[in-house]
Symmetry: C2
Subunit: 69 residues, 2 copies
DNA sequence: ACATTAAGTGCTTTATATTGCACTATTGTA
DNA sequence: TACAATAGTGCAATATAAAGCACTTAATGT
């Protein structure tokens, strides 16, 4: 069982909440272009960007101990 | 109980492992200057940088559901 | 107190993230 | 199939992260 990527988590969460990229961009204060790039795997967002998205989605960015597979 | 910041986690983990900033920079492939800025709270690192640090520290960057306090 | 090691900072260059705009591609649905 | 909504992309401007260097400050041990 490997953990989902940050991208998957954001996408899933967003869809679960029935929010479009446009709405999430609006809500989070992240540029639509930036969000699109991130979700399509093209991005290398800054911590600030990730935190804005997390906030808007009711999530929190953390480190967890990596399980030695 | 509020969760520790990413900075705290990195610092604590690094110190627990008895690794200096210089060593961690070396091990992770992140520039020393970048690590210093991050740990001193001045930085806004990219996801790539955070992942490099996480890898070197045996950590994994994730989102968790935020607890409504 | 002193020496040593580690951490933090000012300055600079280069690389790249962010953003908007206009456009294309995909997806779902009537 | 045709339409509408949503997602993805090329281009360009601006802002800023990454990095090294030299230096200062703080912490640690003898």
């Amino acid at each position: 069982m490997h953990s989902k990527t940050l991208i998957e988590i954001v996408k899933n969460r967003r869809e679960m909440l029935q929010v479009t990229q446009e709405m999430l961009a609006e809500l989070s204060g992240v540029g639509l272009r930036t969000l699109k790039q991130f979700e399509s795997g093209k991005g290398n967002p800054t911590l600030e960007t990730l935190n804005k998205l997390a906030d808007a989605l009711g999530l929190e960015l953390t480190f967890k101990i990596k399980e030695l597979l």
